[in-house]
């Protein structure tokens, strides 16, 4: 039984079948990648995983609870953190504040009226945030405006924000989309470091096959809305169906 269970999910848009009979199981403490060519239904699946889209049939269970129809903050409070295609951070706030907010959210829930306490006096949170920043080597940038960071640092900060919540599942939506080769490699390194340092469950939605081969424990290949195969990276590499799906796209 995986931590994230997708069962018999179907989704149609008008007459268009976006997803048909998708079954997926993400095991705890593993890195699971979902790859597929353009139009394979990756974004639709992602939107089902975060509750934004409700499938016509089927279920999406996380940690024994359905995620369907839940609001983003509820999804997060269930234990899913999300990394976006382009880093989403609080640009007007300092790097340190950026990291403190998710820790507050983890401790206090989706809303708390702590209007008369002082941020500076929350020793636990300050220490935890410092540890998180040290973890990604950004401690010396703590007082900078997040908007002034380089693109790579923004990605790093976003990752740190997500990890600071110690999520049960980290959801990454094409984390290297539109990146130069060097940035892509840096991101892969960062993810590998995270994987090596702690027990974590990651689910990566990716277009680029090469990104996930060094990272994933298991890979699901999606094509035309259906999972084609699910296996280890080594087996996927040589799989004829996968070749066909990707070559078919290239041709």
């Amino acid at each position: 039984m995986g931590i994230l269970e997708v069962k018999n999910v179907n989704k149609n848009f008008g007459g268009l079948k976006a997803l048909s009979e998708v079954n997926l199981s993400v095991k705890e403490n593993s890195v699971h990648a979902i790859i597929g060519p353009n139009g394979a239904g990756k974004s639709t699946l992602l939107n089902c995983l975060i509750g934004k889209l409700i499938p016509d049939t089927g279920s999406v269970m996380f940690d024994g609870q359905s995620v369907l129809g839940r609001k983003p903050h509820e999804i997060n409070q269930m234990g899913i953190s999300r990394v976006f295609q382009t880093p989403e951070i609080f640009g007007d706030l300092t790097v340190f504040e950026n990291v403190m907010i998710p820790i507050f959210a983890k401790r206090d829930g989706s809303f708390r009226m702590h209007a008369f306490e002082s941020v500076a006096h929350e020793r636990d949170i300050v220490e935890e945030a410092e540890a998180v920043l040290a973890d990604v080597n950004m401690l010396e940038k703590r007082d900078l405006h997040a908007a002034s960071l380089s693109r790579g640092d923004k990605r790093r900060l976003e990752m740190a924000m997500c990890l600071s919540q110690k999520p049960k599942l980290l959801l990454l939506d094409e984390p290297t989309a539109g990146m130069a080769r060097a940035d892509t490699n840096n991101t892969i390194d960062l993810l590998n470091q995270i994987k090596a340092k702690r027990d974590i469950t990651m689910c990566i939605i990716e277009h680029d096959m090469h990104v996930v081969f060094s990272l994933a424990d298991r890979i699901t290949v999606l094509a035309q809305g259906t999972p084609l195969v699910e296996d280890t990276p080594d087996k996927i590499k040589g799989h004829p169906k996968v070749q066909e799906a990707y070559l078919g796209e290239a041709a």
Partner: protein, 400 residues
């Protein structure tokens, strides 16, 4: 001190000292000198400084932190005033219950209007708040006349019950016997200073309100509000629900507005619907932007600035202008008077509009940003060595 860091404590102390000595600071010119018209130390005006200061501080909690631009905040000020006058009519002239009720009523109205308006953001939110405020204004003028006394405005009549008005108590608003109107005039040489009870009550309330605002700005709650403004998408996916945060900010700022309305009625037991009109809402937007939205001291500065110049500018007439330029040859004098004339006296709003445009165009951070720029310029000229550290420090405190 009081749970504030050194810098904030200093800010509070400075504001406290300024409000405490305002009657002296604002009357720097001898009473019968020609410059006496620039004195602002009379009770009526000083009360308005602090009351609008409170109003603007509250507005800033919403607009400055969350970025939600409300164009209907005057409605809360208006209902606060009505609530206070009703307390005078029913209970008696003590201002304490009046002020308490005005805050509660402001909160209730803000909760109602905010609950609905905050379902939308951006310009739609502005239009919704505007629509609600205009509705309240129109209703106060027409159907609700039994409660608001329509165009005449709500006031206290001798026939009103005033159940708790004791026989010896003053027949005007008072604070446990201390009349709000009570003024002691100190004369020192050519100078005269008005020490007014109402002003000091308002000033005390302002200090409490300001202190609460500092605490709020430095609290996790304040940080979340700034996060709402910065990136709502990220906030949601971080597990925080933006709606209750913005609603709480809206209600708090509504309470500040209600408080300001209550104080206004306590200084002069009258409440009229025109206080709720959207131009009045525009005024508090102006004050906040002019002073510096999102900063602590900005709204207070903006409120003081606008109220001061409104009073002083609108008093300058052609006679005064001729007095100023009298030393010049007649031709030049007349030209100057003609040029300046449209901007002063009744033309004060023209100056205000121009000023407002200039600030939004060139100085989006308001007077506070202007001050910082001047400070930085002076600092850079004094020594380039330490400049980097200072710039860093300025960036550290975006909310200041």
């Amino acid at each position: 001190m009081l749970g504030l860091n050194t810098k904030d404590t200093w800010l509070l102390v400075i504001v406290a000292l300024m409000t405490l000595f305002a009657p002296f600071l604002l009357n720097p010119f001898p009473a019968n000198s020609s410059l006496a018209q620039f004195n602002a130390g009379y009770p009526d005006l000083m009360q308005r400084f602090v009351i609008f200061g409170i109003f603007a501080i509250g507005f800033n909690i919403l607009f400055g932190l969350t970025g939600y631009l409300s164009f209907g905040h005057a409605a809360f000020l208006g209902v606060g005033s009505y609530a206070a006058v009703w307390m005078f009519k029913l209970l008696g002239y003590n201002v304490v219950p009046a002020i308490i009720l005005s805050v509660i009523v402001g909160a209730v109205f803000a909760l109602l209007i905010g609950f609905i308006s905050l379902r939308r953001s951006g310009i739609y939110f502005s239009i919704l708040t505007l629509a609600f405020a205009q509705m309240s204004f129109a209703l106060a003028y027409s159907v609700l006349t039994p409660i608001t006394n329509g165009e005449t405005g709500l006031q206290v009549y001798t026939s009103d019950p005033q159940y708790f008005q004791r026989s010896g108590a003053p027949d005007i608003p008072h604070f446990f016997g201390l009349e709000m109107r009570a003024t002691e005039t100190l004369r020192m040489g050519g100078w005269s200073f008005d020490i007014n009870a109402g002003y000091y009550l308002c000033a005390a309330v302002l200090l409490v309100a300001f202190y609460m605002a500092i605490r709020l700005f430095r609290s996790p709650f304040g940080m979340m509000l700034r996060a709402v403004k910065s990136n709502q998408q990220r906030l949601n996916y971080t597990g925080l629900n933006a709606r209750p945060y913005t609603l709480a900010a809206f209600v708090i700022s509504g309470m500040y507005a209600g408080l300001a309305g209550g104080l206004m009625a306590s200084m002069d037991p009258l409440a009229g619907a025109e206080r709720m009109q959207w131009t009045a809402s525009g005024e508090v937007v102006l004050m906040t932007i002019l002073g510096g939205a999102g900063t602590l001291i900005g709204p207070v500065l903006g409120a003081g600035f606008i109220k001061y110049f409104e009073n002083i500018f609108s008093k300058i007439n052609d006679g005064v202008l001729h007095g100023w330029f009298g030393f010049l040859p007649d031709g030049i004098e007349n030209v100057l008077v003609t040029v300046v004339h449209p901007f002063v006296g009744k033309g004060w709003h023209l100056t205000l509009g121009l000023l407002f445009m200039l600030v939004v165009i060139f100085l989006p951070g308001g007077l506070v940003e202007g001050g910082q720029r001047i400070g930085k310029y002076v600092f850079r000229r004094r020594g380039r060595k330490a400049g980097g550290a200072e710039a860093e420090a300025a960036r550290k405190q975006p909310a200041e």
